[in-house]
Every structure is written in structure tokens, then in C-alpha cells.
């Protein structure tokens, strides 16, 4: 009988130590049973999610979403030993809908990174090629689904952290529209950009998990009080759309990825969709604005980890100031420190207007640009990343790493929904993916088109 524990044991026996980091916490069966409603699925591998009747389905959870009684540490030393005192709303929703959260997934520390290598627990590798990164920050969440350790997982996406690892591992990752999924109980990185979403093997599975977690939550002031509609029940694989293609972005991709995206577009045109080519905004400005806003919000959100309110406390400080400073300095990793400092800089006196305020102006401009573009079409198609999964030894500078998120961050800035759908493989057998974007209130269209792309890539 295969359980998550036995799979991990098998990995240990086989010497695949890197896979152990995909699941940091493994909850015992007894504890797992407390969380489920009924019918826990013992046989994890080899079944389709929808075949189980949506009952007690095991789901892996990113390590920044609170599950009562679990050690939730955002893969950071500063939260080592922190036991969540309550469930995030998405966890309550999952349990209510027959899912059984069973373990936490590795991630970049406080969701800051694109490789899962900034985790305090060590790196996670890509199951398609262990020399490659799985992407990040939800790299663990994507890996457990890609390698078959989980049917589905939850990730969080601040600038592409669900979609990029999904693209790198050949899974389906969906970032819902801002306000559609509650952030209550999710440890914040950048509150105005963060959203929780599912990673699954198929688009239909993704709809099932999304249906379970979404909905209005009075405990989250940014939650939207809109009518609940099931996505899964309404999936229509025959719908045809006006699809806007950003060719300029596609041309920026490495050749094999570019060709696979162009092939998918050609297929969709042959199926009767109308393809319209358009241009989008300057990506350089976009990245500058994104990192200004994300760092500013991170510096504010992470100020609570001071050794008193939350987090690791330094030993024998001589005064309160030293307690704060030493606790934070010992607890945070280098990437997090850098972003907090950058955030402090852009919010500091004299620079607020030049950076943060200007970045917010650009954010408003991006929203307007998307509104204009959606006047001419139903959906936008663009790449998820400029490359397929890169190797760990490829030493990217900070700016090069930022540029890896070039096609995903604008979606968070505009609060739009987007999905990464696998659309093929390279000669080296690495997954390629395409990104579908819609208006906030038209997420159904993403799933309808996603299924069509998926059907084609499976042929």
C-alpha cells in the first residue's frame, strides 16, 4: 500500500535524498485522519483526482499557509518551531470540500525566489531533471505533483510563484484573480500581490481544487463578495475565443520554447479561434515597479518577525534594540534580508516619491493597458518564462533572476487571473508551457481554453 510516508521511505532507500525536501513535514496517518471528512485515498499514485469522487483527497500545502497544529515556517529559520494556532480559510474550505491536507511543501524562504534554493531546509530539485531547478517560490508544491507524490497542492503566487514552477515541472498552475481566494491565514510576502492557487496534473483537477478554495471570506478585507459559480461544472471544451497573442514576448523566448508556443497558437487557429496580435508595455519598467512594490510591502509585512511578536529569539540580548536586531539577523536568510533592506530604502524619506509612488503609478498604468487590450479579445496568450527550467549551476545575477519573472509579474500587478498549461516538451524532455490570462470575472474562459491546449499536447 502506498502512502506519502512509504513513497518518501522508498526515495530514501533509493538514495534520492533531494526528493525528501519536497515534503518537509509528513503528518502521521492518525493526524491526517483528523483533517479529512471521509474516505481517505490510500492509493496515491496512478489515479485521477476526479475518479475518487472528490472525497478525502490528499493535498500538499505550501509552507506559508497556516494549518492548525502544524509547523509552518515559510522555509525560514526565523519561524523554526512555530506551530500554527489556526487554519487559514483556504484550509477550512478544503476540508469542508473533502480534501485532506497531509504535508507541507518546500519553498523559497518567505516566497522570495524563483528556484526554491533560498529555503532554509535546502533545495528541491526538478523531478524531470535533477540538475535543474523546479522553479519557485512554490517549487515544492509543483514537484510533489509532477513526481506523483501528490494529486494536487496549494501554492502562492506573488509574481509568478505558482505559474513558473508549474511551467518548469510540466504541471498546471493557476493564479486566481486578486480577491477571489481568501488570504486569511496565509503568511504575507506582498499583500497587494499575493494569491493562493492550486497546482495539479490536469486543468480539470485544477478547477476542482479551485472550486474548493475560492469564495468570499469576511475575515479577509480584500476578499470580493461575488456570486459563487463552479468552474469545473461549467468547463466547455468547444468554446471558441478571440485570443490576443503578444508576439514580441514570444520572440524573447529560447528557440524550442518559442516554437512550441507558436505551434500551439497555430493549432488553436486551426480549431477556429481568432488570433489577434498585439503589443504590451515596456517590460524593463514593469520589473522595476514590481520589485519596488513587492520589496516595500515585504519590509512592512516582515517587520513583525522581531523575536517578540513572532519568530526566533536571540539568546541573552543586552537590551531591546539588540534583541530585535540580533533575532532578525540570525533568523532571516540573505535573500530575505536583501529584499527587506531594498523595501526599507524605497519607502525611506526622500525616496518614497521617486520609487514607491512612481511604481504605484506604473501599476495603475498596467491595469489600464490590460483593460484596453481586453476590449479587443477574450484571452491573452503569452509565455510563462523566457526559458525552460535552467540548471542549478547557471549562476544568475539578481537582475537576471528578476528577468525570469518578466512575463508573470504584470498579471499580479493588475490582479488578473492566469494559468500555466503544459503544451509540449523540448528535445531534452523538459516541459514547455504557455500562459493564459483573462479578465478577473472571466476565469471560466481560461479553464475552457486550458483544456483544449492540454488535449492537444497529450496527442
Amino acid at each position: 500500500m502506498k502512502t506519502i510516508e512509504t513513497i518518501i521511505k522508498q526515495n530514501k532507500t533509493a538514495g534520492l535524498k533531494q526528493n525528501i525536501n519536497d515534503l518537509i513535514t509528513v503528518i502521521s496517518k492518525e493526524e491526517r485522519n483528523k483533517n479529512r471528512v471521509s474516505g481517505y485515498v490510500e492509493e496515491i499514485q496512478g489515479k485521477e483526482l476526479q475518479d475518487t469522487g472528490n472525497n478525502g483527497i490528499p493535498i500538499a500545502i505550501k509552507n506559508n499557509i497556516n494549518v492548525k497544529g502544524w509547523n509552518i515556517d515559510c522555509s525560514s529559520k526565523i519561524l523554526e518551531g512555530y506551530i500554527a494556532p489556526y487554519n487559514a480559510t483556504v484550509i477550512d474550505n478544503l476540508i469542508k470540500n473533502g480534501f485532506a491536507p497531509y504535508g507541507t511543501c518546500n519553498m523559497d524562504e518567505f516566497a522570495m525566489g524563483s528556484t526554491t534554493a533560498t529555503s532554509y531546509h535546502g533545495k528541491t530539485t526538478n523531478p524531470k531533471n535533477n540538475n535543474c531547478v523546479p522553479g519557485g517560490s512554490s517549487g515544492g508544491s509543483a514537484t510533489v505533483v509532477a513526481e506523483g507524490t501528490a494529486f494536487c497542492s496549494l501554492g502562492s503566487d506573488t509574481g509568478g510563484s505558482i505559474r513558473q514552477p508549474a511551467a518548469f515541472t510540466g504541471t498546471v498552475g493557476f493564479k486566481p484573480a486578486y480577491g477571489h481566494v481568501s488570504r486569511f491565514g496565509v503568511i504575507a510576502y506582498a499583500s497587494s500581490l499575493d494569491q493562493v492557487g492550486p497546482i495539479t496534473k490536469t486543468v480539470k483537477d485544477n478547477a476542482l481544487v479551485y472550486d474548493a478554495i475560492k469564495g468570499y471570506d469576511p475575515k479577509d478585507t480584500t476578499s470580493l463578495d461575488i456570486e459563487y459559480k463552479s468552474i469545473y461544472n461549467e468547463i466547455d471544451e468547444t468554446k471558441k475565443y478571440k485570443i490576443i497573442v503578444i508576439r514580441e514576448y514570444i520572440e524573447m523566448c529560447e528557440s524550442e520554447l518559442r516554437d512550441s508556443i507558436l505551434e500551439t497558437i497555430k493549432y488553436l487557429e486551426l480549431q477556429g479561434h481568432k488570433i489577434i496580435e498585439k503589443k504590451l508595455f515596456n517590460t524593463d519598467l514593469l520589473i522595476s515597479a514590481y520589485y519596488t512594490i513587492a520589496s516595500a510591502e515585504a519590509s512592512s509585512n516582515l517587520s513583525r518577525f522581531d523575536g517578540i511578536k513572532y519568530g526566533h529569539r536571540t539568546k541573552e540580548p543586552k537590551d531591546l534594540e539588540e534583541l530585535y536586531v540580533n533575532s532578525r539577523s540570525e533568523g532571516f536568510g540573505q535573500e530575505v534580508k536583501k529584499r527587506i533592506m531594498l523595501g526599507s530604502f524605497v519607502l525611506s524619506s526622500g525616496y518614497y516619491e521617486a520609487y514607491y509612488k512612481k511604481a504605484k503609478d506604473i501599476q495603475e498604468y498596467i491595469k489600464q493597458e490590460f483593460n484596453k487590450i481586453f476590449e479587443e479579445g477574450d484571452l491573452i496568450l503569452m509565455p510563462v518564462t523566457p526559458t525552460t527550467a535552467f540548471t542549478f549551476d547557471k549562476e544568475l545575477t539578481d537582475l537576471e533572476m528578476f528577468l525570469n519573472d518578466i512575463f508573470t509579474i504584470s498579471i499580479n500587478m493588475a490582479g488578473l487571473p492566469a494559468m500555466s498549461v503544459p503544451n509540449g516538451k523540448t528535445k531534452d524532455n523538459m516541459p514547455t508551457a504557455i500562459q493564459i490570462i483573462s479578465k478577473s470575472e472571466e476565469e471560466q474562459k481560461i479553464f475552457n481554453l486550458g483544456v483544449q491546449i492540454e488535449n492537444n499536447s497529450e496527442k
Partner: protein, 91 residues
Amino acid sequence: MEQKKLIEKLETLSKIKLKKEEKEKIENKLEEIIGFLDNLSTFDKTIEKDNQDNKSIYRMEDCKLQSVSIEDFYNKNNKVENGSFKVPKIL
């Protein structure tokens, strides 16, 4: 020297004390990243990036006490071209 002062200021603001080796790594990277963020100034020319009259709505101290100006980074950063940071290619 200016970068050292900036790092010290940021350490104070963020309540983080960097180790020596971290400081060296972050010092170089921060310069590059801030240079990149300066691209924001090209979005709207009506607000000058180094306007010392600008004040945060949250902080009331005198801006002229700022020990480091962005202009210094521009002058020292060879990746800046015509007032815009040159984006490195990753492909």
C-alpha cells in the same frame, strides 16, 4: 564609501545587522538593483528622481539629511546608459 553609508542606513531602518561577508555580497548587488529601480524615473519626467523636496508622507525628517544620493549611483554605475539602466540579457 557612499555604499557603505547606505548599507549602514538600511541596516538601521530594517533592524538587521549584516555579517561582514553578507555585507560585501549585498553591497555590490544593492547598487545594481537600485540602479535598475531607477528606470522608474523614465516613466514620468515631471517628478525628478533626486528632488530633495520630496518627502515621504510617513516620515517627516528633513530629506536633505540623506547621506546618499541616487546620482552617485548613476555616476558610478557603468551599466547606466542615457539615464536608463541597461537590462542584461539572460538568453
